[in-house]
C-alpha cells in the first residue's frame, strides 16, 4: 500500500554560507495509506517547502523521503499536487484539463472521454466540459484542478493551501465535496493549510509545526466521527481541538 515516509529530513537554504537559513530541521513523519493528514503552522514554518519536496519539485539538503520504500527523486505521476495558485491550463477546456495526465501517457480517445465524463461529474462541473477556464469562477477552476489531479490517479494527493484564495462559503462547500471524493477513493491526502478549522474538519491527524527552523511541535489525532457534517464545526469537541491547537501556533 502507498505510504509516504519522511526520514531525518532537513533543509538549509544557502548551506555552508554565512547567510545559511535552516527552514526544516530533522523531520520524521509517516503518512499511512488512505489517511487524511493536515500540516498546520504559521508562515515560515516550512510546511509548503516540505510538501513541494514530497512532490519532487524540491530536493532537501539532508535526509530523504520514500513512497512505498522507493526514494522520491523528482516529479512523477504517483504524487499529484494541487497548488494555492490557479494552475488550470487556460488554453485547454475543462474536459481537456481533466484528461491531461492520462493523455500524456497515451490514453486513447475513448479512455480520455471516459475519464473526462467521470471526473467532471465527480467534481460537480457537469455541463461545463467545453468551457474555457476564463469563463469559470475561482471556485470552479479549483474544482477543475482537483478533478485533473484525481483523474491522473496518483497514490498520494498533496494539497498546498488549495482553498486559500476562496471566499468563506465556497471554501466550506469545497471542503465537504473534497471529503466526499476522498471517501470514495480513499487516497492518501496531505493537506497544508494555516486555517485550523479547515484542518480539523478535514483530517484524521493534524501535524503542528513551529517556525525557524521548521520542526514538528505536536501531532493531534482527530477522533471526530466520519462522515463529517458542517454542523460539527460548532460542536464542543471540535472547538476544544481548535482552542488547544490555537494556543500552540505562534501568533
Amino acid at each position: 500500500m502507498p505510504e509516504i515516509k519522511v526520514n531525518h529530513l532537513s533543509h538549509t537554504f544557502g548551506k555552508n554560507t554565512p547567510a545559511a537559513l535552516t527552514v526544516l530541521d530533522d523531520i520524521n513523519l509517516t503518512f499511512p495509506s488512505g489517511s487524511f493528514t493536515s500540516i498546520v503552522g504559521t508562515s515560515g514554518c516550512g510546511k509548503s517547502t516540505l510538501l513541494k519536496m514530497m512532490a519532487g519539485l524540491f530536493v532537501p539538503s539532508d535526509g530523504e523521503m520514500t513512497l512505498d520504500g522507493d526514494v522520491i527523486n523528482g516529479t512523477d505521476n504517483r504524487r499529484g499536487m494541487v497548488f494555492q495558485q490557479d494552475a488550470v491550463f487556460p488554453w485547454m477546456t475543462v474536459a481537456k484539463n481533466v484528461s491531461y495526465g492520462p493523455r500524456l501517457r497515451g490514453a486513447s480517445r475513448a479512455e480520455q472521454a471516459e475519464i473526462e465524463a467521470k471526473w467532471v461529474e465527480m467534481v460537480g462541473l457537469k455541463g461545463f466540459e467545453d468551457r474555457w477556464p476564463r469563463e469559470l469562477s475561482g471556485g470552479m477552476r479549483k474544482r477543475v484542478d482537483i478533478g485533473r489531479v484525481y483523474a491522473n490517479n496518483p497514490d498520494v494527493l498533496l494539497m498546498d493551501e488549495p482553498f486559500g484564495a476562496l471566499d468563506a462559503q465556497t471554501k466550506e462547500r469545497m471542503q465537504s465535496d473534497l471529503l466526499k471524493t476522498w471517501n470514495q477513493t480513499k487516497k492518501t491526502v496531505i493537506f497544508v493549510t494555516h486555517d485550523l478549522e479547515e484542518a480539523i474538519f478535514l483530517s484524521d491527524r493534524i501535524i503542528v509545526m513551529s517556525a525557524r527552523p521548521g520542526r514538528i511541535r505536536h501531532i493531534e489525532e482527530v477522533s471526530l466521527p466520519r462522515p463529517r457534517e458542517d454542523a460539527m464545526r460548532l460542536e464542543s469537541e471540535f472547538l476544544d481541538i481548535k482552542r488547544k491547537l490555537w494556543g500552540m501556533l505562534e501568533h
Binding site: T75, G80, D145
Partner: protein, 255 residues
C-alpha cells in the same frame, strides 16, 4: 457595445476623411505645384496607367514574394532559436549574448555587406528581410518562453509530464500570445526592410517603382505606391489579427 463599435468606425473614418479633404483643398489652391503635390485624380490616374501597363501587378507580386519568403524564413528561425534560448538555460547562456549584441544593429546596416557577399540578386533581398523578421521576432519568442508561469510547469510535472512534454503542452501554448505578437511585428519589419532593400538594388518591385518615380519626377506614381504599401501592410496586419483572435480564443486578453 454595438454603439461603441459604430462610434469607433465613425471616428476612424472621420480622421482619414479629414486628411483627404485637407489634401484636396490644398492641391486645389491656384498656386499649388502638381509636380510636388499631385491632385488625387492624378494619383488615381497613375494607378490605372500602371495597372494597364502591367507594371503595378509585376511589382506587387515580386514584392509580395519577397515578403512572404523572408517572413517565413526569418520567423521560422526565430521560433526555433527563440524556443531553445528561452527554454534551455545552457542554450540561453550560449546564444543570448550574441543576440543581445547584434539586436541593436538596424537590419539596413547589413545592406552593404550582403551586397558585397551575395551581390544584388534576389537572395540578398530575401536575406535582408529574413534578418529583419528574425531580429524582432526572436526577442518576443524568448520573452514568451521566459514568462511561462511556473505554477503551470510545476502542475504538469506533478501530473507526470516529462521535460519535453512540458515544453510541448505547456510552454508553447503559454507563450503563444507573445509568439503571435512577434510574428505581427516581424511582418511590419518585413515591409520596412523590403522597400529599403528594393530602393537600393532591384530590377522590379514596389521599391523599384518608387525609385523610378523619383528618377523621372513622377510624384503621382510615388504617392500611389506609398498608398499601395500602406494598404497592403494594413490588410495583412488585419488578417493576422483575425488569426490571433482565433488562436487566442482561450485568453482573457485577446488583442
Amino acid at each position: 457595445m454595438k454603439n461603441l463599435l459604430r462610434g469607433r468606425l465613425f471616428l476612424g473614418a472621420l480622421s482619414i476623411t479629414t486628411v483627404l479633404v485637407i489634401y484636396v483643398v490644398v492641391t486645389n489652391q491656384p498656386d499649388n505645384n502638381p509636380s510636388l503635390l499631385p491632385p488625387i485624380s492624378l494619383i488615381i490616374g497613375s494607378f490605372f496607367t500602371n495597372l494597364e501597363a502591367g507594371t503595378l501587378l509585376d511589382a506587387l507580386s515580386a514584392s509580395l514574394f519577397r515578403i512572404f519568403l523572408g517572413f517565413l524564413c526569418g520567423t521560422t528561425a526565430a521560433l526555433v532559436i527563440g524556443c531553445l534560448v528561452g527554454w534551455y538555460e545552457t542554450v540561453e547562456y550560449l546564444v543570448d549574448p550574441l543576440i543581445e549584441a547584434v539586436r541593436p544593429i538596424p537590419p539596413l546596416a547589413y545592406i552593404p555587406i550582403v551586397i558585397i557577399w551575395f551581390g544584388i540578386e534576389e537572395f540578398s533581398r530575401v536575406l535582408l528581410i529574413s534578418i529583419a523578421c528574425f531580429m524582432v521576432c526572436v526577442v518576443n519568442v524568448i520573452a514568451g518562453m521566459k514568462n511561462v508561469p511556473k505554477v503551470y510547469v510545476d502542475a504538469a510535472a506533478t501530473l507526470g509530464a516529462s521535460r519535453i512534454q512540458i515544453f510541448r503542452t505547456v510552454a508553447i501554448p503559454a507563450a503563444t500570445p507573445f509568439i503571435i505578437t512577434g510574428y505581427r511585428i516581424a511582418l511590419a519589419a518585413a515591409w520596412t526592410t523590403l522597400v529599403a532593400a528594393e530602393l537600393i538594388a532591384a530590377p522590379n518591385g514596389l521599391g523599384y517603382l518608387l525609385q523610378e518615380g523619383r528618377r523621372y519626377f513622377l510624384t503621382d506614381q510615388v504617392m500611389m505606391i506609398i498608398v499601395i504599401i500602406g494598404v497592403c501592410a494594413f490588410s495583412m496586419d488585419r488578417a493576422f489579427r483575425a488569426i490571433q483572435k482565433r488562436l487566442m480564443v482561450w485568453s482573457e486578453a485577446r488583442e
